[in-house]
Protein backbone atom coordinates (compact mmCIF):
# COMPACT_ATOMS: atom_id res chain seq x y z
CA UNK A 1 0.00 0.00 0.00
CA UNK A 2 1.29 3.42 -0.97
CA UNK A 3 0.34 6.36 1.21
CA UNK A 4 1.05 10.05 1.00
CA UNK A 5 0.54 12.06 4.17
CA UNK A 6 0.30 15.86 4.09
CA UNK A 7 2.74 16.19 1.22
CA UNK A 8 3.98 19.63 0.24
CA UNK A 9 6.23 20.75 -2.56
CA UNK A 10 8.17 24.00 -2.78
CA UNK A 11 10.06 25.08 -5.89
CA UNK A 12 12.24 28.13 -5.27
CA UNK A 13 10.02 30.38 -3.16
CA UNK A 14 6.80 29.14 -4.76
CA UNK A 15 4.64 26.56 -3.09
CA UNK A 16 3.27 24.18 -5.73
CA UNK A 17 0.98 22.19 -3.46
CA UNK A 18 0.44 21.39 0.19
CA UNK A 19 -1.55 18.94 2.30
CA UNK A 20 -1.82 16.33 -0.43
CA UNK A 21 -3.15 13.10 1.05
CA UNK A 22 -3.86 9.84 -0.69
CA UNK A 23 -3.77 6.14 -0.14
CA UNK A 24 -3.44 3.54 -2.87
CA UNK A 25 -4.40 -0.09 -2.25
CA UNK A 26 -3.45 -3.17 -4.27
CA UNK A 27 -5.25 -3.07 -7.61
CA UNK A 28 -5.71 0.69 -7.38
CA UNK A 29 -5.05 3.28 -10.03
CA UNK A 30 -4.25 6.88 -9.19
CA UNK A 31 -4.42 9.49 -11.91
CA UNK A 32 -2.68 12.74 -11.06
CA UNK A 33 -4.29 15.63 -12.89
CA UNK A 34 -3.69 19.33 -13.09
CA UNK A 35 -2.60 22.07 -15.48
CA UNK A 36 1.00 22.51 -16.64
CA UNK A 37 3.27 23.59 -13.82
CA UNK A 38 0.97 22.36 -11.07
CA UNK A 39 3.60 19.96 -9.75
CA UNK A 40 2.56 16.61 -11.24
CA UNK A 41 6.07 15.58 -12.17
CA UNK A 42 7.41 16.91 -8.86
CA UNK A 43 4.88 14.76 -7.01
CA UNK A 44 5.83 11.65 -9.00
CA UNK A 45 9.54 12.26 -8.43
CA UNK A 46 8.80 12.47 -4.71
CA UNK A 47 6.80 9.26 -4.83
CA UNK A 48 9.66 7.38 -6.40
CA UNK A 49 12.16 8.78 -3.94
CA UNK A 50 14.19 10.99 -6.28
CA UNK A 51 13.38 14.10 -4.28
CA UNK A 52 12.26 14.78 -0.74
CA UNK A 53 8.90 16.36 0.05
CA UNK A 54 9.13 19.80 1.70
CA UNK A 55 6.74 18.47 4.32
CA UNK A 56 4.92 15.23 4.95
CA UNK A 57 5.82 11.62 4.45
CA UNK A 58 5.44 8.89 1.86
CA UNK A 59 4.80 5.40 3.20
CA UNK A 60 5.04 2.03 1.52
CA UNK A 61 3.44 -0.79 3.51
CA UNK A 62 3.44 1.46 6.57
CA UNK A 63 7.14 2.22 6.50
CA UNK A 64 8.66 5.47 5.28
CA UNK A 65 10.27 5.05 1.84
CA UNK A 66 13.33 6.90 3.21
CA UNK A 67 13.96 4.00 5.60
CA UNK A 68 13.14 1.29 3.08
CA UNK A 69 15.55 2.56 0.42
CA UNK A 70 16.58 -0.42 -1.73
CA UNK A 71 13.63 -2.52 -0.64
CA UNK A 72 11.24 0.11 -1.99
CA UNK A 73 13.17 0.53 -5.23
CA UNK A 74 12.89 -3.23 -5.78
CA UNK A 75 9.09 -2.91 -5.62
CA UNK A 76 8.77 0.10 -7.91
CA UNK A 77 9.27 0.95 -11.58
CA UNK A 78 9.45 4.59 -12.63
CA UNK A 79 9.22 5.76 -16.20
CA UNK A 80 9.67 9.50 -16.46
CA UNK A 81 9.82 12.12 -19.17
CA UNK A 82 13.34 11.08 -20.05
CA UNK A 83 13.35 7.72 -21.76
CA UNK A 84 16.33 6.33 -19.85
CA UNK A 85 17.72 4.71 -22.99
CA UNK A 86 21.20 5.09 -24.43
CA UNK A 87 21.29 6.33 -28.03
CA UNK A 88 24.38 4.35 -28.94
CA UNK A 89 23.14 1.00 -27.69
CA UNK A 90 20.75 -1.22 -29.61
CA UNK A 91 17.13 -1.70 -28.58
CA UNK A 92 17.89 -5.17 -27.22
CA UNK A 93 20.96 -4.04 -25.25
CA UNK A 94 19.00 -1.15 -23.81
CA UNK A 95 16.23 -3.39 -22.53
CA UNK A 96 18.61 -6.02 -21.12
CA UNK A 97 20.79 -3.46 -19.36
CA UNK A 98 18.02 -1.27 -17.99
CA UNK A 99 16.14 -4.24 -16.58
CA UNK A 100 19.36 -5.66 -15.09
CA UNK A 101 19.92 -2.31 -13.38
CA UNK A 102 16.40 -2.52 -12.02
CA UNK A 103 17.28 -5.88 -10.51
CA UNK A 104 15.73 -8.17 -13.15
CA UNK A 105 18.33 -9.98 -15.21
CA UNK A 106 16.63 -11.31 -18.32
CA UNK A 107 17.80 -13.53 -21.14
CA UNK A 108 17.91 -12.53 -24.81
CA UNK A 109 14.80 -14.60 -25.61
CA UNK A 110 12.74 -13.00 -22.89
CA UNK A 111 13.86 -9.54 -24.03
CA UNK A 112 13.03 -10.32 -27.67
CA UNK A 113 9.61 -11.56 -26.70
CA UNK A 114 8.90 -8.40 -24.71
CA UNK A 115 10.07 -6.23 -27.60
CA UNK A 116 7.84 -8.02 -30.10
CA UNK A 117 4.89 -7.62 -27.74
CA UNK A 118 5.49 -3.89 -27.52
CA UNK A 119 5.65 -3.68 -31.32
CA UNK A 120 9.38 -3.50 -31.95
CA UNK A 121 9.84 -6.84 -33.70
CA UNK A 122 12.64 -6.62 -36.23
CA UNK A 123 14.07 -3.47 -34.64
CA UNK A 124 16.03 -5.29 -31.90
CA UNK A 125 19.44 -4.72 -33.45
CA UNK A 126 18.95 -1.04 -34.33
CA UNK A 127 20.64 1.62 -32.23
CA UNK A 128 18.06 3.69 -30.38
CA UNK A 129 19.29 6.92 -32.01
CA UNK A 130 17.72 5.95 -35.36
CA UNK A 131 14.29 5.30 -33.83
CA UNK A 132 11.37 7.72 -33.82
CA UNK A 133 10.10 9.36 -30.61
CA UNK A 134 7.22 6.90 -30.36
CA UNK A 135 9.52 3.93 -30.82
CA UNK A 136 11.90 5.23 -28.15
CA UNK A 137 8.95 5.51 -25.81
CA UNK A 138 8.10 1.89 -26.59
CA UNK A 139 11.64 0.81 -25.71
CA UNK A 140 11.27 2.54 -22.33
CA UNK A 141 7.83 1.05 -21.74
CA UNK A 142 9.06 -2.46 -22.65
CA UNK A 143 10.62 -2.49 -19.19
CA UNK A 144 7.14 -2.80 -17.72
CA UNK A 145 6.82 -6.18 -19.44
CA UNK A 146 9.92 -7.68 -17.88
CA UNK A 147 10.23 -5.96 -14.48
CA UNK A 148 7.65 -7.59 -12.25
CA UNK A 149 7.22 -4.86 -9.66
CA UNK A 150 3.92 -4.17 -7.89
CA UNK A 151 4.07 -0.36 -8.14
CA UNK A 152 4.37 1.49 -11.43
CA UNK A 153 4.91 5.25 -11.46
CA UNK A 154 4.42 6.57 -14.97
CA UNK A 155 4.91 10.19 -15.98
CA UNK A 156 3.05 10.87 -19.22
CA UNK A 157 3.52 7.35 -20.57
CA UNK A 158 1.34 7.98 -23.62
CA UNK A 159 3.26 10.92 -25.09
CA UNK A 160 4.26 10.33 -28.74
CA UNK A 161 2.53 6.94 -28.89
CA UNK A 162 0.22 6.05 -31.78
CA UNK A 163 -3.34 4.74 -31.35
CA UNK A 164 -2.40 1.06 -31.36
CA UNK A 165 0.36 1.61 -28.81
CA UNK A 166 -1.99 3.54 -26.52
CA UNK A 167 -4.39 0.59 -26.67
CA UNK A 168 -1.54 -1.78 -25.91
CA UNK A 169 -0.47 0.24 -22.87
CA UNK A 170 -4.07 0.45 -21.72
CA UNK A 171 -4.37 -3.36 -21.83
CA UNK A 172 -1.02 -3.70 -20.10
CA UNK A 173 -2.10 -1.39 -17.27
CA UNK A 174 -5.43 -3.17 -16.88
CA UNK A 175 -3.78 -6.58 -16.64
CA UNK A 176 -1.29 -5.23 -14.09
CA UNK A 177 -4.13 -3.80 -11.99
CA UNK A 178 -6.10 -7.05 -12.21
CA UNK A 179 -3.09 -8.93 -10.89
CA UNK A 180 -3.09 -6.68 -7.83
CA UNK A 181 -0.54 -4.14 -9.02
CA UNK A 182 -0.69 -0.42 -8.40
CA UNK A 183 -0.32 2.38 -10.91
CA UNK A 184 0.29 6.08 -10.36
CA UNK A 185 0.22 8.01 -13.61
CA UNK A 186 -0.19 11.43 -15.15
CA UNK A 187 -1.62 11.95 -18.60
CA UNK A 188 -3.29 14.70 -20.56
CA UNK A 189 -4.87 12.20 -22.91
CA UNK A 190 -8.28 10.74 -22.23
CA UNK A 191 -7.80 7.10 -21.44
CA UNK A 192 -10.28 4.70 -19.94
CA UNK A 193 -8.69 2.20 -17.64
CA UNK A 194 -10.87 -0.15 -15.64
CA UNK A 195 -9.50 -0.74 -12.17
CA UNK A 196 -10.76 -2.07 -8.85
CA UNK A 197 -10.48 1.45 -7.49
CA UNK A 198 -9.61 4.65 -9.30
CA UNK A 199 -8.46 7.76 -7.48
CA UNK A 200 -8.25 11.13 -9.17
CA UNK A 201 -5.79 13.48 -7.55
CA UNK A 202 -6.27 17.08 -8.65
CA UNK A 203 -3.40 19.48 -8.14
CA UNK A 204 -4.53 23.08 -8.37
Amino acid sequence: MLQGINLACVRGDRELFRDVNFSLEAGGLMQVRGPNGSGKTSLLRMLCGLSNPAAGEIRWDNASIRDLDGEYYAAMTYIGHLSGTKDDLTVLENLCISSALAGFEIGIDQAKEALSRIGLRGREALPVKVLSQGQRRRVALARLLVCKTPLWILDEPLVALDVSAVKLIQELLERHLQEGGMVVMTTHQEIDITAASTTQLHLA
Binding site: L50, G70, H81, A102
Partner: protein, 219 residues
Amino acid sequence: MFMWIIKRDLLLAVRRQSDVLTTLFFFIIVVSLFPLSVGPEMNMLRTMAPGVVWVAALLASMLSLGRMFSNDYLDGTLEQMLLSPQSLSLLVLGKAFAHWLVTGVPLVLMAPVLGIQYDLPVEALLVLTSALLLGTPVLSLIGAIGAALTLGLRGGGVLVSLLVLPLYIPVLIFGSGAVEANMSGVEFSAHLSLIGAFLLVTAVFAPWAAAWSLRVSLE
Protein backbone atom coordinates in the same frame (compact mmCIF):
# COMPACT_ATOMS: atom_id res chain seq x y z
CA MET B 1 25.18 -5.82 -11.26
CA PHE B 2 28.65 -4.36 -10.84
CA MET B 3 29.59 -6.27 -13.99
CA TRP B 4 26.54 -4.97 -15.89
CA ILE B 5 27.46 -1.34 -15.35
CA ILE B 6 31.06 -1.97 -16.41
CA LYS B 7 29.87 -3.92 -19.44
CA ARG B 8 27.49 -1.13 -20.35
CA ASP B 9 30.10 1.63 -20.09
CA LEU B 10 32.66 -0.36 -22.05
CA LEU B 11 30.08 -1.06 -24.74
CA LEU B 12 29.33 2.65 -24.95
CA ALA B 13 33.05 3.43 -25.16
CA VAL B 14 33.41 0.97 -28.05
CA ARG B 15 30.50 2.64 -29.87
CA ARG B 16 32.01 6.08 -29.32
CA GLN B 17 35.69 5.50 -29.79
CA SER B 18 36.40 9.17 -30.46
CA ASP B 19 35.93 9.91 -26.75
CA VAL B 20 38.60 7.39 -25.78
CA LEU B 21 41.00 8.37 -28.52
CA THR B 22 40.84 12.12 -27.79
CA THR B 23 41.94 11.51 -24.19
CA LEU B 24 44.80 9.26 -25.27
CA PHE B 25 46.01 11.58 -28.01
CA PHE B 26 45.80 14.56 -25.67
CA PHE B 27 48.14 12.70 -23.31
CA ILE B 28 50.53 11.71 -26.09
CA ILE B 29 50.69 15.21 -27.54
CA VAL B 30 51.16 17.02 -24.22
CA VAL B 31 53.96 14.66 -23.18
CA SER B 32 55.63 14.95 -26.59
CA LEU B 33 55.52 18.74 -26.66
CA PHE B 34 58.06 19.13 -23.86
CA PRO B 35 61.06 17.38 -25.47
CA LEU B 36 60.33 19.34 -28.64
CA SER B 37 60.27 22.68 -26.86
CA VAL B 38 63.13 22.09 -24.42
CA GLY B 39 65.51 20.65 -26.97
CA PRO B 40 67.88 17.69 -26.67
CA GLU B 41 69.14 18.45 -23.16
CA MET B 42 69.23 14.86 -21.91
CA ASN B 43 69.84 15.64 -18.26
CA MET B 44 67.11 18.22 -18.04
CA LEU B 45 64.63 15.97 -19.85
CA ARG B 46 65.41 13.07 -17.53
CA THR B 47 64.73 15.17 -14.41
CA MET B 48 61.50 16.64 -15.69
CA ALA B 49 60.10 13.43 -17.22
CA PRO B 50 58.18 12.02 -14.23
CA GLY B 51 56.55 15.36 -13.45
CA VAL B 52 55.55 16.03 -17.04
CA VAL B 53 54.10 12.55 -17.56
CA TRP B 54 52.12 12.74 -14.35
CA VAL B 55 50.75 16.23 -14.98
CA ALA B 56 49.73 15.17 -18.49
CA ALA B 57 48.03 12.08 -17.03
CA LEU B 58 46.09 14.24 -14.52
CA LEU B 59 44.93 16.61 -17.25
CA ALA B 60 43.99 13.79 -19.61
CA SER B 61 42.00 12.04 -16.93
CA MET B 62 40.28 15.37 -16.10
CA LEU B 63 39.34 15.88 -19.72
CA SER B 64 36.93 12.95 -19.72
CA LEU B 65 35.49 13.48 -16.23
CA GLY B 66 32.65 15.66 -17.48
CA ARG B 67 31.29 12.76 -19.48
CA MET B 68 31.30 10.32 -16.57
CA PHE B 69 27.77 11.14 -15.43
CA SER B 70 26.52 13.96 -17.66
CA ASN B 71 25.43 11.79 -20.61
CA ASP B 72 23.55 9.47 -18.27
CA TYR B 73 22.01 12.49 -16.59
CA LEU B 74 20.76 13.94 -19.87
CA ASP B 75 19.10 10.78 -21.17
CA GLY B 76 17.56 9.75 -17.86
CA THR B 77 19.60 6.58 -17.29
CA LEU B 78 21.15 8.14 -14.20
CA GLU B 79 17.67 8.54 -12.72
CA GLN B 80 17.10 4.85 -13.27
CA MET B 81 20.43 4.02 -11.60
CA LEU B 82 19.40 6.01 -8.54
CA LEU B 83 16.20 3.99 -8.40
CA SER B 84 18.01 0.69 -8.66
CA PRO B 85 17.58 -1.66 -5.72
CA GLN B 86 21.34 -2.19 -5.78
CA SER B 87 23.61 0.04 -3.77
CA LEU B 88 24.37 3.27 -5.60
CA SER B 89 27.92 3.30 -4.22
CA LEU B 90 28.58 0.00 -5.94
CA LEU B 91 27.24 1.41 -9.19
CA VAL B 92 29.48 4.46 -8.87
CA LEU B 93 32.45 2.18 -8.15
CA GLY B 94 31.58 0.28 -11.33
CA LYS B 95 31.38 3.49 -13.33
CA ALA B 96 34.70 4.75 -11.93
CA PHE B 97 36.31 1.38 -12.75
CA ALA B 98 34.97 1.54 -16.31
CA HIS B 99 36.24 5.12 -16.58
CA TRP B 100 39.68 3.91 -15.51
CA LEU B 101 39.64 1.02 -18.00
CA VAL B 102 38.74 3.41 -20.80
CA THR B 103 40.95 6.40 -19.96
CA GLY B 104 43.51 5.24 -17.38
CA VAL B 105 44.72 1.94 -18.83
CA PRO B 106 45.60 3.34 -22.29
CA LEU B 107 47.71 6.03 -20.57
CA VAL B 108 49.52 3.44 -18.48
CA LEU B 109 50.27 1.35 -21.56
CA MET B 110 51.46 4.37 -23.52
CA ALA B 111 53.64 5.86 -20.75
CA PRO B 112 56.75 3.64 -21.23
CA VAL B 113 56.82 4.44 -24.95
CA LEU B 114 56.55 8.15 -24.26
CA GLY B 115 59.18 7.89 -21.50
CA ILE B 116 61.75 6.91 -24.10
CA GLN B 117 61.55 10.43 -25.51
CA TYR B 118 62.92 11.62 -22.18
CA ASP B 119 65.80 9.13 -22.23
CA LEU B 120 64.58 7.40 -19.05
CA PRO B 121 66.48 4.23 -18.10
CA VAL B 122 64.51 0.97 -18.36
CA GLU B 123 64.13 0.58 -14.62
CA ALA B 124 62.74 4.12 -14.26
CA LEU B 125 60.25 3.37 -17.06
CA LEU B 126 59.03 0.36 -15.11
CA VAL B 127 58.66 2.39 -11.93
CA LEU B 128 56.81 5.11 -13.85
CA THR B 129 54.41 2.57 -15.33
CA SER B 130 53.70 0.84 -12.04
CA ALA B 131 53.19 4.18 -10.27
CA LEU B 132 50.72 5.16 -13.00
CA LEU B 133 49.01 1.77 -12.76
CA LEU B 134 48.38 2.35 -9.04
CA GLY B 135 47.71 6.07 -9.32
CA THR B 136 45.34 6.41 -12.28
CA PRO B 137 42.45 4.54 -10.58
CA VAL B 138 42.72 7.09 -7.75
CA LEU B 139 42.27 9.85 -10.34
CA SER B 140 39.07 8.22 -11.65
CA LEU B 141 37.70 7.66 -8.15
CA ILE B 142 38.35 11.20 -6.90
CA GLY B 143 37.17 12.52 -10.23
CA ALA B 144 33.85 10.73 -9.76
CA ILE B 145 33.15 12.90 -6.70
CA GLY B 146 33.90 16.09 -8.64
CA ALA B 147 31.83 14.96 -11.62
CA ALA B 148 28.89 14.08 -9.37
CA LEU B 149 29.05 17.40 -7.51
CA THR B 150 29.10 19.53 -10.66
CA LEU B 151 26.42 17.54 -12.47
CA GLY B 152 23.96 19.73 -14.34
CA LEU B 153 25.78 22.97 -13.50
CA ARG B 154 26.62 25.48 -16.19
CA GLY B 155 30.37 25.71 -16.68
CA GLY B 156 30.73 22.46 -14.74
CA GLY B 157 33.84 21.54 -16.73
CA VAL B 158 35.97 24.34 -15.30
CA LEU B 159 34.53 23.93 -11.84
CA VAL B 160 35.35 20.23 -11.80
CA SER B 161 39.04 21.03 -12.47
CA LEU B 162 39.10 23.53 -9.61
CA LEU B 163 37.53 20.99 -7.28
CA VAL B 164 39.45 17.93 -8.30
CA LEU B 165 42.97 19.05 -9.26
CA PRO B 166 43.97 20.05 -5.68
CA LEU B 167 42.86 16.61 -4.52
CA TYR B 168 45.12 15.01 -7.12
CA ILE B 169 48.24 16.64 -5.61
CA PRO B 170 49.22 13.82 -3.20
CA VAL B 171 49.10 11.24 -5.99
CA LEU B 172 51.11 13.58 -8.21
CA ILE B 173 53.80 14.11 -5.55
CA PHE B 174 54.28 10.46 -4.70
CA GLY B 175 53.84 9.28 -8.27
CA SER B 176 56.57 11.43 -9.69
CA GLY B 177 58.53 11.06 -6.43
CA ALA B 178 58.77 7.29 -6.97
CA VAL B 179 60.47 7.75 -10.36
CA GLU B 180 62.82 10.46 -9.08
CA ALA B 181 63.76 8.28 -6.11
CA ASN B 182 64.54 5.38 -8.43
CA MET B 183 66.72 7.57 -10.67
CA SER B 184 68.70 8.95 -7.78
CA GLY B 185 69.25 5.42 -6.47
CA VAL B 186 66.98 5.66 -3.42
CA GLU B 187 64.41 3.04 -2.43
CA PHE B 188 61.11 3.88 -4.16
CA SER B 189 58.78 1.24 -2.71
CA ALA B 190 57.57 3.59 0.05
CA HIS B 191 56.19 5.94 -2.59
CA LEU B 192 54.34 3.11 -4.31
CA SER B 193 52.98 1.85 -0.98
CA LEU B 194 51.61 5.30 -0.24
CA ILE B 195 49.88 5.48 -3.63
CA GLY B 196 48.48 2.01 -2.92
CA ALA B 197 47.16 3.31 0.39
CA PHE B 198 45.52 6.27 -1.38
CA LEU B 199 43.93 3.80 -3.77
CA LEU B 200 42.44 1.73 -0.96
CA VAL B 201 41.14 4.77 0.93
CA THR B 202 39.55 6.33 -2.16
CA ALA B 203 38.09 2.98 -3.27
CA VAL B 204 36.20 2.88 0.02
CA PHE B 205 35.21 6.52 0.45
CA ALA B 206 34.96 8.05 -3.04
CA PRO B 207 32.03 5.88 -4.30
CA TRP B 208 30.09 6.64 -1.15
CA ALA B 209 30.75 10.39 -1.42
CA ALA B 210 29.97 10.43 -5.14
CA ALA B 211 26.73 8.48 -4.61
CA TRP B 212 25.66 10.98 -1.99
CA SER B 213 26.51 13.91 -4.30
CA LEU B 214 24.51 12.31 -7.11
CA ARG B 215 21.42 12.10 -4.92
CA VAL B 216 21.83 15.77 -4.03
CA SER B 217 22.46 16.80 -7.64
CA LEU B 218 19.38 15.04 -8.94
CA GLU B 219 16.97 16.29 -6.34
